[in-house]
Protein backbone atom coordinates (compact mmCIF):
# COMPACT_ATOMS: atom_id res chain seq x y z
CA UNK A 1 0.00 0.00 0.00
CA UNK A 2 1.52 3.29 -1.09
CA UNK A 3 -1.00 5.72 0.35
CA UNK A 4 -3.87 5.15 2.69
CA UNK A 5 -6.27 7.48 4.44
CA UNK A 6 -8.61 6.52 7.20
CA UNK A 7 -11.69 8.26 8.52
CA UNK A 8 -10.93 11.56 6.80
CA UNK A 9 -13.46 14.25 7.67
CA UNK A 10 -13.88 17.80 6.43
CA UNK A 11 -16.52 20.47 6.98
CA UNK A 12 -17.02 23.85 5.37
CA UNK A 13 -19.08 26.36 7.36
CA UNK A 14 -20.59 23.66 9.52
CA UNK A 15 -21.56 21.48 6.60
CA UNK A 16 -19.78 18.15 6.50
CA UNK A 17 -18.52 17.51 2.97
CA UNK A 18 -16.38 14.46 3.75
CA UNK A 19 -17.93 12.05 6.25
CA UNK A 20 -15.12 9.74 7.20
CA UNK A 21 -13.42 8.58 4.03
CA UNK A 22 -11.30 5.43 3.92
CA UNK A 23 -9.25 5.06 0.77
CA UNK A 24 -6.08 3.30 -0.21
CA UNK A 25 -3.94 3.50 -3.30
CA UNK A 26 -1.37 0.88 -4.26
CA UNK A 27 1.73 1.58 -6.30
CA UNK A 28 0.88 1.35 -9.98
CA UNK A 29 -2.81 2.04 -9.46
CA UNK A 30 -4.65 4.30 -11.85
CA UNK A 31 -7.66 4.94 -9.65
CA UNK A 32 -10.54 7.15 -10.72
CA UNK A 33 -12.91 8.87 -8.32
CA UNK A 34 -16.33 9.20 -9.90
CA UNK A 35 -19.49 10.75 -8.60
CA UNK A 36 -22.02 13.52 -9.08
CA UNK A 37 -21.14 17.18 -8.54
CA UNK A 38 -20.94 18.09 -4.87
CA UNK A 39 -19.98 14.56 -3.84
CA UNK A 40 -16.74 15.86 -2.29
CA UNK A 41 -14.35 14.36 -4.87
CA UNK A 42 -12.22 17.48 -5.35
CA UNK A 43 -12.20 18.27 -1.63
CA UNK A 44 -11.00 14.74 -0.93
CA UNK A 45 -8.18 15.06 -3.46
CA UNK A 46 -7.17 18.48 -2.13
CA UNK A 47 -7.17 17.17 1.45
CA UNK A 48 -4.91 14.35 0.33
CA UNK A 49 -2.28 16.86 -0.79
CA UNK A 50 -2.96 19.27 2.11
CA UNK A 51 -4.34 22.05 -0.08
CA UNK A 52 -7.26 21.81 2.31
CA UNK A 53 -6.71 20.89 5.92
CA UNK A 54 -8.90 17.97 6.88
CA UNK A 55 -10.68 18.16 10.23
CA UNK A 56 -9.63 14.68 11.19
CA UNK A 57 -8.30 11.37 9.96
CA UNK A 58 -5.06 9.52 9.48
CA UNK A 59 -2.73 9.24 6.55
CA UNK A 60 -0.29 6.42 5.89
CA UNK A 61 2.41 7.07 3.34
CA UNK A 62 5.54 5.01 2.75
CA UNK A 63 4.67 2.93 5.79
CA UNK A 64 4.35 5.84 8.21
CA UNK A 65 0.99 6.65 9.80
CA UNK A 66 0.22 10.15 11.06
CA UNK A 67 -2.93 11.93 12.26
CA UNK A 68 -3.57 14.45 9.48
CA UNK A 69 -4.18 17.54 11.58
CA UNK A 70 -1.04 16.93 13.63
CA UNK A 71 1.28 17.08 10.65
CA UNK A 72 3.74 19.97 10.78
CA UNK A 73 4.53 22.25 7.86
CA UNK A 74 7.82 20.44 7.45
CA UNK A 75 6.16 17.04 7.35
CA UNK A 76 3.67 18.30 4.79
CA UNK A 77 6.46 19.66 2.59
CA UNK A 78 8.37 16.41 2.93
CA UNK A 79 5.23 14.51 1.87
CA UNK A 80 4.68 16.83 -1.09
CA UNK A 81 8.22 16.12 -2.28
CA UNK A 82 6.88 12.66 -3.15
CA UNK A 83 3.56 13.68 -4.66
CA UNK A 84 2.42 15.88 -7.51
CA UNK A 85 -0.84 17.61 -8.32
CA UNK A 86 -2.47 18.52 -11.63
CA UNK A 87 -5.12 21.20 -11.36
CA UNK A 88 -8.34 21.75 -13.26
CA UNK A 89 -7.16 25.26 -14.15
CA UNK A 90 -3.53 24.19 -14.89
CA UNK A 91 -2.03 26.83 -12.57
CA UNK A 92 1.18 27.07 -14.54
CA UNK A 93 3.57 29.68 -13.13
CA UNK A 94 2.55 32.60 -15.36
CA UNK A 95 5.93 34.34 -15.13
CA UNK A 96 7.88 31.27 -16.23
CA UNK A 97 8.20 29.60 -19.59
CA UNK A 98 7.25 25.96 -20.08
CA UNK A 99 10.71 24.59 -19.27
CA UNK A 100 11.12 26.80 -16.19
CA UNK A 101 7.69 25.67 -15.01
CA UNK A 102 8.86 22.10 -15.20
CA UNK A 103 12.30 22.64 -13.63
CA UNK A 104 11.21 24.98 -10.80
CA UNK A 105 10.52 22.12 -8.38
CA UNK A 106 13.89 20.59 -9.22
CA UNK A 107 16.20 23.59 -8.94
CA UNK A 108 14.46 25.41 -6.11
CA UNK A 109 13.25 22.59 -3.90
CA UNK A 110 15.45 19.61 -4.66
CA UNK A 111 18.57 21.70 -5.41
CA UNK A 112 19.17 19.86 -8.68
CA UNK A 113 21.96 21.56 -10.65
CA UNK A 114 20.82 23.62 -13.62
CA UNK A 115 22.17 21.28 -16.27
CA UNK A 116 20.56 18.14 -14.85
CA UNK A 117 17.33 20.03 -14.22
CA UNK A 118 17.24 21.15 -17.84
CA UNK A 119 17.81 17.61 -19.09
CA UNK A 120 15.08 16.21 -16.81
CA UNK A 121 12.79 19.08 -17.75
CA UNK A 122 13.24 18.50 -21.45
CA UNK A 123 12.67 14.77 -20.95
CA UNK A 124 9.42 15.52 -19.13
CA UNK A 125 8.30 17.96 -21.84
CA UNK A 126 9.20 15.40 -24.48
CA UNK A 127 7.07 12.84 -22.70
CA UNK A 128 4.00 15.07 -23.12
CA UNK A 129 5.00 15.95 -26.69
CA UNK A 130 5.93 19.57 -26.05
CA UNK A 131 9.74 19.61 -26.21
CA UNK A 132 9.60 22.15 -29.03
CA UNK A 133 7.50 24.54 -26.91
CA UNK A 134 10.00 24.70 -24.06
CA UNK A 135 10.56 28.46 -24.26
CA UNK A 136 6.90 29.47 -24.59
CA UNK A 137 5.08 31.23 -21.81
CA UNK A 138 1.73 29.88 -20.58
CA UNK A 139 -0.23 32.60 -22.40
CA UNK A 140 1.33 31.45 -25.69
CA UNK A 141 0.02 27.90 -25.25
CA UNK A 142 -3.44 26.43 -25.79
CA UNK A 143 -5.35 25.06 -22.81
CA UNK A 144 -4.49 21.50 -23.77
CA UNK A 145 -0.82 22.36 -24.14
CA UNK A 146 -0.84 24.17 -20.79
CA UNK A 147 -2.30 21.13 -19.08
CA UNK A 148 0.33 18.90 -20.72
CA UNK A 149 3.07 21.23 -19.42
CA UNK A 150 1.42 20.94 -15.99
CA UNK A 151 1.62 17.15 -16.31
CA UNK A 152 5.28 17.44 -17.33
CA UNK A 153 5.84 19.62 -14.26
CA UNK A 154 4.26 16.87 -12.16
CA UNK A 155 6.42 14.19 -13.80
CA UNK A 156 9.73 16.04 -13.55
CA UNK A 157 10.13 15.53 -9.82
CA UNK A 158 9.59 11.79 -10.22
CA UNK A 159 6.68 11.59 -7.75
CA UNK A 160 5.35 8.39 -6.27
CA UNK A 161 1.79 9.46 -6.96
CA UNK A 162 0.12 12.14 -9.09
CA UNK A 163 -3.25 13.58 -8.12
CA UNK A 164 -5.37 14.81 -11.04
CA UNK A 165 -8.23 17.17 -10.19
CA UNK A 166 -10.61 17.19 -13.17
CA UNK A 167 -7.72 17.77 -15.57
CA UNK A 168 -9.91 18.15 -18.65
CA UNK A 169 -12.92 20.01 -17.23
CA UNK A 170 -11.60 23.46 -18.17
CA UNK A 171 -10.74 22.46 -21.72
CA UNK A 172 -12.60 22.77 -24.99
CA UNK A 173 -13.94 19.35 -25.97
CA UNK A 174 -11.52 19.08 -28.88
CA UNK A 175 -8.55 19.61 -26.55
CA UNK A 176 -9.41 16.96 -23.98
CA UNK A 177 -8.12 14.16 -26.19
CA UNK A 178 -4.47 15.23 -26.11
CA UNK A 179 -4.48 15.45 -22.31
CA UNK A 180 -6.28 12.13 -21.84
CA UNK A 181 -3.89 10.38 -24.19
CA UNK A 182 -0.89 11.65 -22.19
CA UNK A 183 -2.57 10.35 -19.03
CA UNK A 184 -3.29 7.03 -20.73
CA UNK A 185 0.37 6.62 -21.59
CA UNK A 186 1.36 7.41 -17.99
CA UNK A 187 -1.03 4.71 -16.75
CA UNK A 188 0.51 2.27 -19.21
CA UNK A 189 3.95 3.13 -17.85
CA UNK A 190 2.76 2.18 -14.39
CA UNK A 191 2.56 5.68 -12.88
CA UNK A 192 0.45 5.73 -9.72
CA UNK A 193 -2.43 8.12 -10.28
CA UNK A 194 -5.52 9.18 -8.38
CA UNK A 195 -7.86 10.96 -10.75
CA UNK A 196 -11.04 12.92 -10.27
CA UNK A 197 -12.76 13.12 -13.62
CA UNK A 198 -16.10 13.16 -15.38
CA UNK A 199 -14.66 11.32 -18.38
CA UNK A 200 -16.47 8.03 -17.85
CA UNK A 201 -15.10 6.43 -20.99
CA UNK A 202 -11.57 7.30 -19.93
CA UNK A 203 -12.24 5.86 -16.47
CA UNK A 204 -13.60 2.66 -18.00
CA UNK A 205 -10.71 2.08 -20.38
CA UNK A 206 -7.71 3.41 -18.45
CA UNK A 207 -8.26 2.98 -14.71
CA UNK A 208 -7.86 -0.25 -12.80
CA UNK A 209 -9.94 0.90 -9.84
CA UNK A 210 -13.06 2.98 -9.43
CA UNK A 211 -14.05 4.86 -6.31
CA UNK A 212 -17.65 6.00 -6.49
CA UNK A 213 -18.56 8.85 -4.16
CA UNK A 214 -21.76 10.59 -3.28
CA UNK A 215 -22.68 13.07 -0.59
CA UNK A 216 -19.32 12.99 1.18
CA UNK A 217 -19.09 9.23 1.35
CA UNK A 218 -17.61 6.42 -0.68
CA UNK A 219 -20.55 4.43 -1.98
CA UNK A 220 -18.61 1.73 -3.72
CA UNK A 221 -15.07 0.91 -4.67
CA UNK A 222 -13.66 -1.92 -6.72
CA UNK A 223 -11.89 -3.11 -9.79
CA UNK A 224 -12.95 -1.06 -12.81
CA UNK A 225 -14.27 -3.89 -14.92
CA UNK A 226 -16.31 -5.28 -12.04
CA UNK A 227 -17.78 -1.90 -11.13
CA UNK A 228 -18.81 -1.19 -14.70
CA UNK A 229 -20.27 -4.63 -15.38
CA UNK A 230 -21.64 -5.57 -11.95
CA UNK A 231 -22.01 -2.50 -9.75
CA UNK A 232 -22.99 -3.64 -6.27
CA UNK A 233 -24.89 -0.54 -5.26
CA UNK A 234 -27.97 0.69 -7.03
CA UNK A 235 -26.72 4.27 -6.87
CA UNK A 236 -23.51 3.34 -8.71
CA UNK A 237 -25.47 1.46 -11.34
CA UNK A 238 -27.78 4.41 -11.86
CA UNK A 239 -24.91 6.89 -12.14
CA UNK A 240 -23.03 4.74 -14.64
CA UNK A 241 -26.19 4.09 -16.65
CA UNK A 242 -27.01 7.77 -16.97
CA UNK A 243 -23.45 8.71 -17.80
CA UNK A 244 -22.56 5.93 -20.24
CA UNK A 245 -25.75 5.40 -22.22
CA UNK A 246 -25.80 8.64 -24.21
CA UNK A 247 -22.15 8.13 -25.13
CA UNK A 248 -22.86 4.65 -26.46
CA UNK A 249 -25.69 5.97 -28.57
CA UNK A 250 -23.38 8.45 -30.15
CA UNK A 251 -20.89 5.85 -31.27
Amino acid sequence: MLLEIRNLTKSFHGQQVLKGIDLSVSAGDAAVILGPSGAGKTTLLRCMNFLETADGGEITFDGKTRPIHEMSKREIREYRMHTAFVFQSFNLFLNKNALANVTEGLTVVRKTDAKTAKRLGMEALDRVGLADHADKYPHQLSGGQQQRVAIARALATNPEIIFFDEPTSALDPELTGEVLSVMRSLANDGMTMLIVTHEIEFARTVSNRIVFMEDGEIVETGETKRVFTHPQKERTAAFLKINTEPKEEET
Binding site: L51, R80, N91, F93, E104, V109, Y137, R153
Partner: protein, 224 residues
Protein backbone atom coordinates in the same frame (compact mmCIF):
# COMPACT_ATOMS: atom_id res chain seq x y z
CA UNK B 1 14.73 90.11 -24.27
CA UNK B 2 18.42 89.44 -24.63
CA UNK B 3 18.83 89.97 -20.92
CA UNK B 4 16.14 87.36 -20.11
CA UNK B 5 17.68 84.85 -22.50
CA UNK B 6 21.03 85.42 -20.90
CA UNK B 7 19.56 84.97 -17.43
CA UNK B 8 17.89 81.75 -18.57
CA UNK B 9 21.14 80.32 -19.92
CA UNK B 10 23.10 81.55 -16.94
CA UNK B 11 20.70 80.15 -14.32
CA UNK B 12 20.01 76.85 -16.07
CA UNK B 13 23.12 75.04 -14.79
CA UNK B 14 22.71 76.70 -11.39
CA UNK B 15 19.25 75.17 -11.03
CA UNK B 16 20.08 71.89 -12.73
CA UNK B 17 23.10 71.20 -10.54
CA UNK B 18 21.17 70.97 -7.23
CA UNK B 19 18.66 68.94 -9.22
CA UNK B 20 21.35 66.41 -9.99
CA UNK B 21 23.04 66.51 -6.60
CA UNK B 22 19.99 66.87 -4.35
CA UNK B 23 16.60 66.28 -6.00
CA UNK B 24 17.64 63.06 -7.73
CA UNK B 25 19.54 61.50 -4.79
CA UNK B 26 16.73 62.49 -2.40
CA UNK B 27 14.19 60.86 -4.70
CA UNK B 28 16.31 57.77 -5.38
CA UNK B 29 17.15 57.06 -1.75
CA UNK B 30 13.66 57.83 -0.45
CA UNK B 31 11.94 55.81 -3.13
CA UNK B 32 14.21 52.80 -2.62
CA UNK B 33 13.47 52.84 1.09
CA UNK B 34 9.79 53.36 0.34
CA UNK B 35 9.82 50.23 -1.84
CA UNK B 36 11.34 48.14 0.94
CA UNK B 37 8.73 49.47 3.39
CA UNK B 38 5.95 48.91 0.86
CA UNK B 39 6.83 45.31 0.01
CA UNK B 40 7.36 44.28 3.64
CA UNK B 41 4.21 46.08 4.81
CA UNK B 42 2.14 44.68 1.93
CA UNK B 43 3.29 41.12 2.64
CA UNK B 44 2.48 41.45 6.33
CA UNK B 45 -1.03 42.71 5.60
CA UNK B 46 -1.44 40.13 2.79
CA UNK B 47 -0.80 37.20 5.14
CA UNK B 48 -2.53 39.02 8.03
CA UNK B 49 0.23 38.67 10.61
CA UNK B 50 -1.50 39.46 13.89
CA UNK B 51 -0.55 42.72 15.66
CA UNK B 52 1.84 43.77 12.86
CA UNK B 53 -1.08 44.05 10.45
CA UNK B 54 -2.86 46.45 12.80
CA UNK B 55 0.34 48.46 13.28
CA UNK B 56 0.78 48.79 9.53
CA UNK B 57 -2.84 49.78 9.01
CA UNK B 58 -2.28 52.52 11.61
CA UNK B 59 0.90 53.65 9.89
CA UNK B 60 -0.77 53.83 6.48
CA UNK B 61 -3.75 55.62 7.99
CA UNK B 62 -1.58 58.37 9.52
CA UNK B 63 0.84 58.91 6.65
CA UNK B 64 -1.82 58.89 3.97
CA UNK B 65 -4.15 61.02 6.03
CA UNK B 66 -1.90 63.99 6.81
CA UNK B 67 -0.19 66.45 4.47
CA UNK B 68 3.37 65.75 3.44
CA UNK B 69 4.33 69.31 4.33
CA UNK B 70 2.97 68.86 7.86
CA UNK B 71 4.96 65.64 8.23
CA UNK B 72 8.13 67.43 7.12
CA UNK B 73 7.53 70.23 9.63
CA UNK B 74 6.79 67.84 12.49
CA UNK B 75 10.00 65.91 11.91
CA UNK B 76 12.29 68.84 11.19
CA UNK B 77 10.91 71.66 13.33
CA UNK B 78 8.84 69.68 15.82
CA UNK B 79 11.03 66.83 16.97
CA UNK B 80 13.91 69.03 18.20
CA UNK B 81 11.45 70.11 20.91
CA UNK B 82 11.76 66.59 22.36
CA UNK B 83 15.48 66.44 21.76
CA UNK B 84 15.48 64.74 18.37
CA UNK B 85 17.54 66.79 15.98
CA UNK B 86 17.78 65.52 12.45
CA UNK B 87 19.71 67.23 9.66
CA UNK B 88 17.63 68.53 6.73
CA UNK B 89 18.52 65.87 4.17
CA UNK B 90 18.04 62.81 6.43
CA UNK B 91 14.84 64.37 7.79
CA UNK B 92 13.55 64.71 4.23
CA UNK B 93 14.56 61.11 3.44
CA UNK B 94 12.73 59.81 6.52
CA UNK B 95 9.53 61.68 5.75
CA UNK B 96 9.48 60.99 2.02
CA UNK B 97 10.19 57.27 2.40
CA UNK B 98 7.60 56.80 5.15
CA UNK B 99 5.00 58.82 3.26
CA UNK B 100 5.63 57.12 -0.07
CA UNK B 101 5.92 53.72 1.63
CA UNK B 102 2.40 54.11 2.99
CA UNK B 103 0.92 54.76 -0.44
CA UNK B 104 2.99 52.10 -2.20
CA UNK B 105 2.19 49.48 0.46
CA UNK B 106 -1.43 49.68 -0.64
CA UNK B 107 -0.44 49.43 -4.31
CA UNK B 108 1.68 46.34 -3.69
CA UNK B 109 -0.95 44.75 -1.45
CA UNK B 110 -3.61 45.15 -4.14
CA UNK B 111 -1.22 43.69 -6.72
CA UNK B 112 -0.47 40.70 -4.48
CA UNK B 113 -4.17 40.09 -4.03
CA UNK B 114 -4.61 40.12 -7.80
CA UNK B 115 -2.33 37.09 -8.25
CA UNK B 116 -4.54 33.98 -8.51
CA UNK B 117 -4.39 31.76 -5.41
CA UNK B 118 -3.69 28.83 -7.73
CA UNK B 119 -0.16 30.17 -8.21
CA UNK B 120 0.50 29.55 -4.52
CA UNK B 121 -1.11 26.12 -4.63
CA UNK B 122 1.01 25.13 -7.61
CA UNK B 123 4.13 26.30 -5.78
CA UNK B 124 3.24 24.27 -2.70
CA UNK B 125 2.54 21.20 -4.83
CA UNK B 126 6.03 21.21 -6.37
CA UNK B 127 7.34 21.36 -2.79
CA UNK B 128 8.05 25.07 -2.43
CA UNK B 129 7.54 26.87 0.87
CA UNK B 130 5.41 29.98 1.27
CA UNK B 131 8.44 32.26 1.08
CA UNK B 132 9.92 30.50 -1.94
CA UNK B 133 6.60 30.71 -3.78
CA UNK B 134 6.22 34.34 -2.76
CA UNK B 135 9.69 35.34 -3.89
CA UNK B 136 9.89 33.37 -7.14
CA UNK B 137 6.29 33.21 -8.37
CA UNK B 138 3.84 35.57 -6.69
CA UNK B 139 5.88 38.69 -5.97
CA UNK B 140 7.31 38.96 -9.52
CA UNK B 141 3.78 38.77 -10.92
CA UNK B 142 2.51 41.28 -8.39
CA UNK B 143 5.35 43.69 -9.14
CA UNK B 144 4.47 43.52 -12.84
CA UNK B 145 0.93 44.56 -11.97
CA UNK B 146 2.15 47.21 -9.55
CA UNK B 147 4.76 48.65 -11.90
CA UNK B 148 2.63 51.35 -13.61
CA UNK B 149 1.09 52.73 -10.41
CA UNK B 150 4.48 52.59 -8.67
CA UNK B 151 6.01 54.53 -11.55
CA UNK B 152 3.25 57.05 -11.03
CA UNK B 153 4.25 57.37 -7.40
CA UNK B 154 7.90 57.81 -8.32
CA UNK B 155 7.15 60.61 -10.77
CA UNK B 156 4.95 62.22 -8.16
CA UNK B 157 7.76 62.03 -5.67
CA UNK B 158 10.28 63.77 -7.89
CA UNK B 159 8.02 66.80 -7.86
CA UNK B 160 7.11 66.50 -4.18
CA UNK B 161 10.78 66.78 -3.21
CA UNK B 162 10.40 70.52 -3.91
CA UNK B 163 8.62 70.65 -0.54
CA UNK B 164 11.95 69.85 1.09
CA UNK B 165 12.92 73.46 0.37
CA UNK B 166 10.73 74.28 3.36
CA UNK B 167 13.04 72.41 5.69
CA UNK B 168 16.18 74.04 4.25
CA UNK B 169 17.22 71.27 1.89
CA UNK B 170 18.96 73.15 -0.94
CA UNK B 171 17.33 71.23 -3.76
CA UNK B 172 16.27 72.67 -7.13
CA UNK B 173 13.34 74.71 -5.96
CA UNK B 174 15.26 76.41 -3.17
CA UNK B 175 18.11 77.14 -5.58
CA UNK B 176 15.56 78.79 -7.88
CA UNK B 177 14.07 80.84 -5.06
CA UNK B 178 17.52 82.16 -4.24
CA UNK B 179 18.15 83.26 -7.82
CA UNK B 180 14.70 84.91 -7.91
CA UNK B 181 15.56 86.86 -4.77
CA UNK B 182 18.64 88.18 -6.51
CA UNK B 183 17.29 88.86 -9.99
CA UNK B 184 13.56 89.62 -9.48
CA UNK B 185 12.55 87.45 -12.43
CA UNK B 186 10.06 85.05 -10.84
CA UNK B 187 8.09 84.25 -13.99
CA UNK B 188 11.09 83.22 -16.04
CA UNK B 189 12.85 81.34 -13.27
CA UNK B 190 9.85 79.43 -11.92
CA UNK B 191 8.94 78.43 -15.47
CA UNK B 192 12.52 77.36 -15.91
CA UNK B 193 12.56 75.13 -12.84
CA UNK B 194 9.19 73.74 -13.94
CA UNK B 195 10.78 72.85 -17.26
CA UNK B 196 13.57 70.98 -15.52
CA UNK B 197 11.06 69.02 -13.42
CA UNK B 198 9.25 68.25 -16.67
CA UNK B 199 12.48 66.94 -18.21
CA UNK B 200 13.08 64.71 -15.18
CA UNK B 201 9.52 63.35 -15.34
CA UNK B 202 9.78 62.77 -19.06
CA UNK B 203 12.95 60.73 -18.65
CA UNK B 204 11.23 58.65 -15.97
CA UNK B 205 8.19 58.14 -18.19
CA UNK B 206 10.44 56.84 -20.95
CA UNK B 207 12.19 54.52 -18.51
CA UNK B 208 8.79 53.33 -17.31
CA UNK B 209 7.75 52.44 -20.84
CA UNK B 210 10.89 50.42 -21.45
CA UNK B 211 10.60 48.74 -18.06
CA UNK B 212 7.01 47.78 -18.72
CA UNK B 213 7.94 46.28 -22.04
CA UNK B 214 10.67 44.24 -20.45
CA UNK B 215 8.46 43.05 -17.61
CA UNK B 216 5.67 42.15 -20.03
CA UNK B 217 7.60 39.25 -21.54
CA UNK B 218 5.24 36.74 -19.95
CA UNK B 219 1.98 38.60 -20.33
CA UNK B 220 -0.40 38.54 -23.24
CA UNK B 221 0.59 42.15 -24.01
CA UNK B 222 4.13 41.11 -24.87
CA UNK B 223 3.88 41.48 -28.64
CA UNK B 224 1.88 44.67 -28.76
Amino acid sequence: MDRLWELFLDSFPKILLPGLTMTIPLTAISFSLAMVIAVVAAMIVYVRVPVLTQLIRGYVWIFRGTPLLVQLFVVFYGLPKVGVLIAPFPAAVIVFSLNEGAYCAETVRAALEAVPVGQFEAGYCVGMSFLQTMRRIVLPQAMRTAFPPLSNSLISMVKDTSLAANITVTEMFMATQRIVARTYEPLLLYLEVGLIYLIFSTVLTLIQRRGEKKLSAYTALAKK
